[in-house]
């Protein structure tokens, strides 16, 4: 069923009785060409692009809970491609370009809103680093704009310019950055994959990965064994747990990242703003809630909830940079589990087991990568060679000494 304003209008006239289910609820078949473990954003987009771009549709996406229940359903919705390193930036720019055409592509309004993202800087050294980054973005075909204090005073008069502990000296904009209605991304991809024949199987937990003679043969699930010659892990946050079923240890730790939303407010923020002297970034949703976050809690956790010190740290950053939000109230906080990798960058790669593929290690940057991650993973699954923008996202890079460390924090995951 194709969605359109006309369809909404006609359905409205007839009591909204003619809408079709957005996806089927199929029973698992005994065998597929490809099994994707995890119906989160990346898993669903992988299935979508496999079907749409690579013509492969005999695919099952297995989901332990409900579709979109991973980090696609609990993030702060930001898209951007303001990376710096050659192993990253072309990939994220590819992703941003996919975002820009996404809604027309999958006929679902995910509210891709290029409202801009701004990273504030507070020192000359930070400015130098942002200039380096902005220039790298240009070299990769992305956009960047350096703003000085005077410009920011005009555009964002509510920032604390005059009483700040760390005065704002300027910022790096990416005007094409912005936000997306995160759940709708999962639904749009799910709908697009389902309509092309992909089986999305919810409430189907993978309990084992079958390997024979170094090659994958299928998976065991809470709904029985399912065979496949290709199995694609796509469970960021739980990568360690799933990879352990195949006997793998990963360069990843699972950490909790909290996120926050305020009560609904009339529009106050134009785009995404990131404070450069503390842990705070914020945007405002179309419903009016300020959606904000900061740093991870910092300890290994699979608990999807955090603790007070980070809540307070984030609020302190918020009040330091925009003291007009003091009377806005935190409505809800939640936690997501992040695959924190050893250099802060992800993996889209084959594993040492034939037919077993790995996608993970997205740290807290996975949402913006959803389209490109799915596309590149589909490329790898379909053709067995990496997509040109994802050639560096290899599991063996640490052994080789090829680090993609944007923040320069080294092999300590909780610092990325």
């Amino acid at each position: 069923m194709r969605y359109s304003a006309f369809k909404v209008f006609m359905q409205g006239l007839t009591g909204n009785k003619g809408w079709k289910p957005v996806w089927r609820e199929p029973e698992p078949k005994p065998e597929y060409d490809i099994i994707i473990i995890g119906a989160g954003g990346h898993g669903l987009s992988t299935a979508y692009y496999l079907a749409k771009e690579f013509g492969l549709t005999n695919i099952a996406v297995l989901e332990k809970g409900w579709l979109g229940s991973g980090n696609i359903g609990r993030n702060t919705t930001i898209i951007r491609s303001n990376y710096m390193l050659p192993g990253n930036e072309p990939f994220y720019e590819f992703s941003l370009k996919l975002w820009e055409d996404l809604e027309q592509d999958f006929n679902y309004n995910a509210m891709v809103s290029q409202r801009s993202i701004l990273n504030l800087f507070h020192s000359d050294a930070q400015r130098d680093a942002f200039v380096r980054r902005g220039n790298a973005m240009f070299l990769a075909g992305a956009d960047a704009e350096l703003a000085d204090e005077a410009q920011l005073r005009r555009e964002l008069p509510f920032l604390d310019f005059d009483n700040a502990r760390f005065p704002v000296k300027g910022g790096l904009y990416q005007r094409r950055g912005g936000t997306v209605r995160h759940d709708a991304v999962a639904w749009g991809y799910a709908r697009g994959a389902d309509s092309r024949g992909v089986d999305i199987i919810q409430n189907c937990e993978v309990t084992g990965i079958d390997v024979e003679n170094g090659a994958v043969r299928g998976v065991q699930t809470s709904r029985g064994a399912i065979r496949a010659r290709k199995v694609a892990m796509c469970v960021a946050g739980s990568s360690g747990r799933v990879a352990a079923m195949a006997g793998m240890r990963l360069p990843i730790e699972s950490h909790v990242l909290q996120a926050f939303v305020s009560e609904g407010l009339k529009p106050v923020l134009p785009g995404v703003i990131t404070f450069g002297a503390g842990h705070f970034y914020v945007s405002q949703s179309d419903k009016g809630g300020l959606v904000f976050g900061g740093d991870i809690d910092g300890y290994n956790s699979y608990a999807q909830r955090g603790n007070l010190p980070v809540v307070e740290d984030v609020a302190e950053g918020g009040m330091a940079i925009m003291p007009m939000i003091g009377r806005a109230r935190l409505l809800r906080s939640w936690g997501g589990i992040m695959d924190m990798s050893m250099d802060g960058s992800p993996f889209i790669d084959k594993t040492h087991i034939d037919g077993l593929y790995f996608n993970g290690g997205w740290c807290y940057g996975g949402f913006k990568a959803t389209p490109a991650s799915g596309y590149c993973y589909a490329h790898l699954l379909a053709r067995d060679v990496p997509h040109p923008t994802a050639t560096e996202m290899r599991l063996d890079r640490f052994k080789r000494g090829h680090l993609i460390d944007e923040k320069g924090q080294g092999n300590q995951p909780n610092l990325h």
């Binding site: 360690g240 747990r241 240890r249 990963l250 360069p251 300890y299 290994n300 608990a303 050893m342």
Partner: protein
Amino acid sequence: MIINHPLLGPRDAAEFIYLGDASLIDRPGWEDPDADEKFYEYGYLRDNPAGAHQELWYHEQGDRSWLVVTRNTLSHEITNVELARDVAKSRGRDR
């Protein structure tokens, strides 16, 4: 979170800095024949269990001791706290 420090009693985890898996104590020998491989595994690979996890915390705003805390990563329940120095010694580390 509250960490029950073996010498100081319960303290808010906010006083501590987290490092990671307590296997970081087991630094390989640099002259081992397969030192490259061992250091790679030491530096980069983690068990990352969903369950009991032995991990290193540093009491920076306290007595500056490194602790080995056994904590469940699903429930956050802490079942054991030891001085890392004692753990390191018991694992044969010396000088």
